[in-house]
Subunit: 312 residues, 2 copies
């Protein structure tokens, strides 16, 4: 069983792919394998790239990956966003960039979908990132669509959150404020060559400035035009600066510890729900419903009975 | 203990109010009381009025309540929407209408907030509706904001779903399509006197027509102007027609049976989560986190241990 784990640790792409397929399929033996994987994780720098579909995340990730490779670090990429070019819907330019990337054997790119388990996509993404870490990738990048619970969860499992937005997404900034924006370590205003970009750029800058006065890290707003490559070097610098900052004074260690506790709680909750759902599948609930309908039991009594049944 | 239940059954407003406050507060003795309440439910016709804030739901509900009173049926109203005039933010016209309503002792109006339990607001709303049913209200109306899980849950616990929308909400129709729209039994296009209303009205009509060809109930799109009262009589007719339809051939009974089974599952899940959360509060999870951090245990092992601990 540990053969596949050993091959993953050797950087074998086929074995890593097989393991991630098992994660996606919810294979019953995957958890034992992930237990073997786990001790070999924690050495990669994990970056989450999030933002609305069409913001140019994939193009930026290709550029970032190229820069990391040039600096001698290997890269693993997980795409959770189903609208991502990595998962099939690529523009020609992106596809060419991706093909160049995948030809480099220091890069591993994989998209993952939902397996239907509670919290399935989030947990699959976390598990898949660990496989890439065990492969020895220096940098692991995960791309999400920036909406919904999966993104919040993914944000909770990376070392750096890069939020990508575009001028068209102006109206969404209010929505972002509530959620992902406050989690961002670096903000990218992509397609910044468009005339509408100036207002949003200023707004974003104001939003992140107020909160962080006096704190150690001032969230930068980087203007890029991924299509021409403008600003990408600045983005790389900003992420590198954040990595240096995070690794000082064990900030990264403290962040990971909080994330670990949160993930434990979430996984435990989800397992308990899965246990309940699984056993409900075996109970004929319609019989209980009939009892309530006939007035022989009341709803609250029945739920209490079911809870006691599951606790015993 | 059953004194308060007896008083609620006599239609005592103070006792009903106290019971709903206990529901909101998550009082430990409330479930036993709800068990006593439950056998006296099921006789009211329950209407859910849902739609975006500012759509004029409360004004329409006041008009509806007036019409039901005029036809000799008593009315209970639960407002779940925190932006509802019923919960304080009323326009003067609404306040006057509400005051007139509350002076009538056949009407009981109550707003409820979230108590922080998992699914708290949804479950509180369902419980509070049952209190009004036990009071003997002929019609129970629940008002929700039309966004989020609470609304989906509320939709799942009423006999008729009235979706209220307005021309300004045009962009939200796409969002509605995915969720509440397909659950609507009656659609109201309020503020239909505005020029922008025509396009949305046609769009809504088209959306609901396709799906229901050949089915028993054609979802009507009613144009109202709640401020002038235009169209409110047609809305009452439409809801009455739906009530008649639902009560034929035990359609209502079948719908309630499905809802009951769903509520059982949801309550059971939430109880199990609450149990887990409660016991996690008593465990020092940081100790477990430290074990993982030191590499003495791995995350997956720890979660498995915790699951087994909770099952035993």
């Amino acid at each position: 069983m540990s053969d596949i784990v050993a091959r993953v640790r050797d950087g074998n792409i086929r074995s890593a792919g097989r393991l991630i397929s098992m994660i996606e399929a919810g294979d019953p033996s995957i958890e034992a394998l992930l237990s073997l994987i786990y001790p070999h994780t924690g050495k990669s720098f994990r970056i989450g790239v999030t933002g609305p579909p069409g913001a140019g995340k994939s193009t930026l990730i290709c550029e970032l990956a190229g820069a990391y490779l040039a600096s001698g670090r290997s890269v693993g990429i997980i795409a959770v966003d189903i609208t991502s070019p990595f998962t099939g819907g690529a523009l020609l330019g992106d596809r060419i960039r991706m093909q160049e990337l995948t030809r480099d054997d220091r890069v591993f790119i994989r998209s993952i979908g939902n397996d239907g388990r509670p919290g399935g996509l989030s947990r699959s993404a976390q598990d898949a990132m660990r496989v890439l870490e065990a492969m020895g990738k220096g940098v692991v990048i995960v791309e999400t669509a920036g909406v919904g619970q999966t993104d919040v969860d993914v944000v909770d499992s990376v070392d750096a959150v890069v939020l990508v937005t575009v001028p068209e997404a102006g109206d969404e900034v209010q929505a972002l404020k509530a959620g992902i924006l406050e989690a961002a370590d670096v903000i990218v205003l992509n397609k910044a060559d468009r005339p509408e970009a100036d207002g949003l750029g200023t707004e974003l800058q104001e939003l992140v400035t107020g909160d962080y006065v006096g704190a150690g890290w001032q969230v930068p707003v980087i203007r890029t035009a991924a299509s021409t490559g403008d600003g990408v070097d600045k983005l790389c610098e900003a992420i590198n600066a954040y990595e240096t900052y995070a690794k000082e004074e064990n900030r990264l260690g403290a962040r990971r510890k909080l994330q670990l506790e949160k993930e434990m709680r979430t996984r435990l909750r989800e397992k308990m729900i899965a246990t309940v759902d699984h056993s409900l599948d075996r109970i004929d609930l319609s019989e209980v419903v009939n009892l309530v309908n006939k007035g022989e039991k009341d709803l609250y009594e029945v739920v209490k009975d079911l809870v006691n049944f599951h606790k015993s």
